[in-house]
């Protein structure tokens, strides 16, 4: 994995968290700082995935796994 990938993940998580606040926040019930931290932390998960799209290692891993048949009969 490239060193920039976790940094990109933090950036994408910020974008996701901001978008969710803008779209879903209920005016009378704003997100507190504690909840915003929770939201940002959770947003790191999909943020990491988006960052991994710009990293060759996950793509290579997918191609490697695609060559394996996990369900073929084991010969004894």
């Amino acid at each position: 994995m490239l060193p920039r990938t976790p940094v990109l993940a933090m950036f994408f998580a910020m974008i996701i968290a901001i978008l969710i606040v803008l779209i879903f926040e209920i005016p009378g019930r704003p997100f507190t700082i504690r909840l915003a931290i929770w939201l940002y932390t959770l947003s790191l998960l999909p943020g990491m995935g988006i960052a991994m799209l710009f990293d060759p290692a996950p793509r290579e891993a997918k191609e490697r796994f695609l060559k394996i048949n996990f369900y073929e009969e084991k010969k004894s």
């Binding site: 959770l42 998960l45 988006i50 991994m52 799209l53 793509r59 997918k62 996990f70 369900y71 009969e73």
Partner: protein, 166 residues
């Protein structure tokens, strides 16, 4: 999908009133148990494999077909129609959550063995540590499963459940 099924089960439970016509409340213990039970039911096909009663290739076959989902719903229907509705939706959403895997799902079994997939990530086997690790070195599992946890957070916020109780 692996760990994301946990978030998806809770999300289904959050829509229990809409799915059951108001017969069940969102995030009630009943709706959580039914949604979890039905949503995880297809993956119990690893039990006969682990016990040596079925081959590895049994995974993602009958338990991941539409006929299985309708059979489960039909079995539950005489006892509780709300359970049947929630179980049917939970099972179909399980199939949708598994469709991005390269293994593909034979949704139309027994009429055809054609497997349906959108192939966003490579399948890494039915169980075990290697399968789990292999799943999470791929990008789209993080996007979709992580996205499920974020969406669950939004649902909990919208419905004002813990930790959003003011």
């Amino acid at each position: 999908m692996q760990l994301g099924h946990v978030a998806v089960s809770f999300i289904i439970s959050s829509y229990a009133p809409q799915i059951t016509g108001g017969a069940m409340q969102a995030f009630s213990l009943e709706s959580i148990l039914v949604a979890f039970g039905a949503h995880w039911l297809p993956n119990l096909d690893v039990i006969p494999i682990k016990l040596g009663w079925a081959k590895d290739s049994f995974h993602c076959t009958w338990s991941h077909s539409l006929i299985f989902a309708f059979a489960v719903a039909l079995i539950l229907l005489p006892f509780n129609s709300a359970w049947a509705a929630l179980a049917l939706v939970s099972l179909i959403i399980h199939y949708l959550a598994d469709m991005p895997s390269s293994v593909g799902l034979p949704l139309l079994m027994p009429f055809t063995n054609k497997r349906f997939t959108i192939n966003l990530w490579a399948d890494t086997g039915h169980s075990g540590w290697d399968a789990l690790i292999g799943t999470y070195v791929q990008a789209w599992t993080w996007i979709l499963e992580g996205g499920a946890f974020v969406f669950l957070f939004v649902r909990m916020y919208q419905l004002g459940v813990w930790p959003f109780i003011s």
